[in-house]
C-alpha cells in the first residue's frame, strides 16, 4: 500500500462509473478496544461483495481523505482513507490506517468478487 495519490484514485474511481461492481467496505475500532480501555465502545461493521452501481464519485480532503459515490437511490461514503494499492490495476483498494499502522476503515471496488 502507498499513501493516497488523489489524482490517481480519482482516475480509478471514474473507471467504475455506471457499471455493476462489487464493493467491500468496513470500519472497526478493533476487537480489543474495550479490553484495553473500558471507556471505549467497541464497534465494527463490514459488508462484503455487495453489488452496487454509481453515477458520480470523487475523492476529497487534504488527508486523511473522503470518498463519496452517488448511487441511484443513495450514497456510499467513507472518511479517513490514507492508503491505496497502486499496483492493483483492476481493483481499487483503499484503506485508512491509524498512527500504529492498524486498519481503521476500508473501501474497495472491483469488477470481480473479492
Amino acid at each position: 500500500m502507498q499513501p493516497i495519490d488523489t489524482a490517481d484514485v480519482q482516475r480509478r474511481i471514474h473507471e467504475f462509473i455506471d457499471q455493476d461492481i462489487y464493493v467491500h467496505m468496513e470500519m472497526t475500532t478493533g476487537a480489543y478496544t474495550s479490553h484495553h480501555d473500558t471507556t471505549k465502545h467497541p464497534a465494527a461493521n463490514f459488508i462484503s461483495n455487495a453489488v452496487i452501481r454509481f453515477s458520480l464519485g470523487s475523492i476529497s480532503g487534504i488527508g486523511p481523505y473522503r470518498v463519496g459515490l452517488k448511487m441511484g437511490k443513495g450514497w456510499i461514503y467513507t472518511e479517513g482513507l490514507t492508503h491505496y494499492d497502486a499496483a492493483e490495476e483492476d481493483r481499487l483498494l483503499m484503506s485508512g490506517h491509524d498512527g500504529t499502522g492498524k486498519l481503521v476503515v476500508a473501501l474497495q471496488l472491483s469488477r470481480e468478487p473479492f
Partner: protein
C-alpha cells in the same frame, strides 16, 4: 436594513449559534428571511437522550426541531432542499449550484448568509459556502448581493483576517436561546433553559455578538 435575506446552510442547527440573533434582529425591523437548508442532518451522531431516536427517525425529528427553531427566530420561509447529509462536496455541481441559483433568482436577496468556504471546519459547511460563492460569482458584478460568511477554523485570521461585520444581538438573546434549545437532540447547553437565561451577563458575553466575514469577490 435588509428587506430580503437568504440563508443557505447545510444542516438544521447551523443557524442557531452564529446567526439566529442577527436574523431575529432584522426580522423585528421588517425583513423577510428565506432559509434554504440543504440537508436534514440525517447522519448526525447525537440522537438525543430519552426517548431514543433511531437512525431512520432522526431526519423527521431534526426537521421538527428546525421548524421550531425557525418559529423562534421568526423566519417566514423555510425551504428543505433535499440533499443528503455529508454528501454536499460530492454532489453533482450542476444540480447543487442550480438549486441555489434558482433560490437566489426567486428570492432576490439583499444579502446572503452562508459559511466561509475552507474556513468552516465541516466538509458540508465548506462545500455549501463554495457553492454559494460559485453561483454569486457567475452573476454580473452589479447584481451580486453581499455574501456574509460564518467561519470558525483554527488560526483563520492569518488567512482571511478579522470579521468585518459585527451584529450586537444582546436584545435578541431570547429568540437565539430558543433557537438553540429547539435543537434538543443536538445540544445540551447547561444554564440555557432558565426562564431568564437571556438576561444573564455570562450568556450576553458569550452569545451577544455575531461575527461575519464579507466574501471578497474579484472582478
Amino acid at each position: 436594513m435588509y428587506q430580503s435575506i437568504l440563508v443557505i446552510l447545510p444542516h438544521p442547527d447551523d443557524e442557531c449559534f452564529g446567526l439566529s440573533g442577527t436574523l431575529a434582529k432584522y426580522i423585528s425591523q421588517g425583513a423577510k428571511v428565506t432559509y434554504g437548508c440543504l440537508t436534514l442532518g440525517q447522519m448526525g451522531r447525537n440522537m438525543g437522550s430519552a426517548p431514543y431516536n433511531s437512525r431512520v427517525a432522526l431526519p423527521s425529528v431534526r426537521k421538527k426541531e428546525l421548524e421550531e427553531s425557525c418559529r423562534a427566530i421568526g423566519i417566514q420561509d423555510l425551504r428543505l432542499m433535499g440533499f443528503h447529509d455529508k454528501t454536499i462536496e460530492f454532489e453533482d455541481r450542476e444540480l447543487l449550484d442550480g438549486a441555489i441559483e434558482d433560490l437566489i433568482r426567486e428570492v432576490k436577496p439583499d444579502v446572503i448568509y452562508t459559511f466561509y468556504p475552507d474556513y468552516a471546519v465541516h466538509p458540508d459547511h465548506d462545500a455549501t459556502g463554495a457553492a454559494v460563492v460559485r453561483v454569486v460569482e457567475r452573476m454580473p458584478k452589479g447584481e451580486r448581493p453581499p455574501v456574509l460568511c460564518m467561519a470558525f477554523a483554527r488560526d483563520l485570521e492569518s488567512s482571511i483576517g478579522n470579521p468585518d461585520v459585527f451584529e450586537d444581538v444582546k436584545d435578541f438573546l431570547k429568540p437565539k436561546i430558543a433557537s438553540i434549545l429547539s435543537h434538543r437532540t443536538q445540544f445540551q447547553v447547561p444554564g440555557l433553559d432558565g426562564a431568564n437565561s437571556h438576561k444573564s451577563k455570562e450568556l450576553q458575553e458569550r452569545f451577544g455578538t455575531e461575527r461575519f466575514w464579507t466574501y471578497p469577490f474579484g472582478g
